[in-house]
């Protein structure tokens, strides 16, 4: 390991980035531009919304009500709470999108003919799931109420909906931080193109005949792209704060540190994979197929994903974006710092360090 060689690679890589307009664009402005496009274009149908229920009544009717909610699978029961704090905790962890609070006099009030009221709390940081979930919840409650009363005069169950973390449930308001993980795939694309370009042009063959070590080469590539990745993420965050007026409630240094971890994870995986790819065209398709598309659908960025079970769980766990989406939403809307997002941060570190180490081990200094 020679710091001189490492520095030689780093400086060369910085020069490549700064002198190639396409690469420079990819690692500076393109994430912010994508962010604007996505923020305005988004409108998604909610698939499955996770419910947390605090049933304070524990009556036959309250159990019937819960059963009717989850009957068709559009809602799933993810948490049986016993107080506000347990629901709050589940929502902080991202286990539930909606919290339902059934008051202790639920059955009594209905049987007495006075309308009962249930309280609904929505995770305002995940607007897409929350907004869709609240609408559907109101429909379900109304259907349940109709079945209870033959005389459909006044609805006997009133839903009092309230959003946490994002009171107004303004869609662009909360969606933007969650989109950052997707748009921050651009540095991965840039590094994949840089590595395969070096192979395509034949410069790599010359490097093989030098004393460069795999570690120096890969780290020398990684560092400039992490640096520029932080620049592009900062532009995207600034855009979220200034243009979309999303408050950044968590500490800025923590968010930047976790951004570095995300870049390390996504770039580490890319570096490893690119060791097996010869052309820029293939590299681009692989990055798109491996990161962009799954991150879009499986990370929970756009669709609420059941990450607790099923085959989606594994894929979702391996995607750096799945962890980073919790980080950006947590940092922006839930005022979370790196201490509260330690699990996600550790996952990102592992997702980065394992392929990076494998990349060094499988690095072949041969044509």
């Amino acid at each position: 390991m020679s710091l001189h060689r490492l520095w030689a690679i780093i400086r060369k890589e910085f020069r490549h980035i700064q002198r190639d307009k396409r690469t420079l664009f990819l690692v500076t402005l393109s994430p912010a531009i994508m962010l604007i496009a996505f923020a305005y274009l988004f409108a998604f149908e909610v698939q499955s919304v996770r419910l947390g229920v605090w049933d304070a009544d524990q009556s036959a009717l309250s159990r019937q009500f819960i059963a009717s909610l989850i009957a068709d699978g559009k809602f799933s029961l993810a948490e049986n709470g016993n107080g506000y704090e347990s629901l709050r905790g589940a929502m902080m962890r991202g286990d539930i999108h909606l919290g339902v609070i059934i008051p202790p006099d639920f059955e009594a009030q209905i049987l007495a003919g006075d309308g009962a009221s249930v309280q609904l709390i929505a995770d305002g940081s995940d607007t897409i799931a929350a907004a869709g979930g609240v609408t559907r919840f109101r429909q379900r409650t109304a259907e349940f109420a109709r079945r209870l009363t033959s005389t459909s005069s006044a609805p006997p169950i009133i839903v009092q909906a309230q959003a946490w973390y994002n009171r107004d449930l303004d869609s662009t308001f909360a969606m933007v931080p969650g989109l950052v993980p997707i748009v921050m795939i651009m540095p991965s694309l840039a590094i994949a193109l840089a590595i395969t370009r070096e192979r395509e042009l034949g410069s790599f063959e010359t490097l093989i005949a030098t004393p460069i070590h795999a570690f120096e080469y890969l780290l020398g590539k990684l560092i400039p792209y992490i640096a520029y990745g932080v620049v592009s993420a900062s532009i995207a965050y600034a855009l979220a704060i200034i243009w979309f007026r999303v408050p950044l409630r968590g500490p800025v240094p923590d968010l930047l540190a976790m951004t570095v971890l995300y870049l390390f994870a996504s770039l580490g995986v890319t570096l490893f994979i690119c060791g097996f790819i010869a052309s820029q065209g293939t590299a681009m398709r692989v990055v798109m197929l491996l990161f962009f598309i799954p991150s879009f659908f499986l990370s929970g960025v756009t669709l609420p994903v059941d990450t607790k079970s099923g085959p989606g769980q594994f894929i979702s766990f391996l995607l750096p974006a799945s962890h980073f989406v919790q980080i950006t939403r947590g940092a922006f809307l839930k005022a979370m710092g790196i201490d509260q997002l330690a699990a996600q941060s550790l996952n990102l570190f592992l997702i980065g360090v394992i392929p990076f180490a494998l990349g060094i081990l499988t690095f072949r200094k041969r044509v």
């Binding site: 034949g202 005949a209 004393p211």
Partner: protein
Amino acid sequence: MTGQITATQLSKTFRKNQAVRGVSFDIAPGEIYGLIGPDGAGKTTTIRMLAGVMDPTRGTARVNGLDTTRQAEQLRAHVGYMAQKFSLYGDLSVRENIEFYADIFGVRGKARAERIARLLKFARLDQFQDRDAGVLSGGMKKKLGLACAFIHRPRVLFLDEPTNGVDPISRREFWDILSDLHIEGVTIFISTAYLDEAERCSRVGLMYRGEIIREGTPIALRQLVQGDLLAIITPDLQIAENVAQKLPGIFEVQVYGDRLHVFVDAGATRAREIEIALVAAGATIKQIRPAAPHLQEAFISLISHL
């Protein structure tokens, strides 16, 4: 074998294609060894194996006493390698390219500045040091590649068709630089498709279909190519080919694009005879002149007489 570059039965097979079929070398320190052959003969694969950037399927090679497969990393400091494809960084300047390789090869301190300045001068690139490598002429690119490959002052240089596609003046200049290195005692292993370049080597190996079919000094090899070469430019290639083949004193007739290349026993007398015969057969002749045998032609001629 005690040479600086030695190889025993070096072979490389790609899937089913046997690119190199058991070649052996014993090259002494200070030699300029030319590996000559047509495209696809296996020259690049051979050089890659000797330079330690590709593992042989069978056989072994040693450079400076180090095994090119198992001791490849130790070998790097003693060997300079210039790949066939121009492989420097087009967006870095001439100086930045040389500096990059100086840093990678651990050339530091006072030696770094001195050596870079000397190499820039040596490669006649000192006036162009701030120019992007990508906008250099073909010849200058090759000289820059050579400078980068020599930054760590290796004892052995492997150069894979360094003059391919370069104009004749730049080629000569490149070879003048190689001669200077040769005088300094550097062992040079170079591949080329140009016969005239082979003449500047101390020894030449002719490679064809993965094998060294002839090896020796340029003078010894040239004597193997029989007769003179005539180039005939004619729109009636088919007729000309058929007629020329049947004339006396003709060794070989080859079609090269819009012209016919004819190996004859005596150029001056046969040229006249061919011209008469072709005109009699109804072919139009635009030009008929003696030509220097290109290696490819010499080769085909050699092989057909094997």
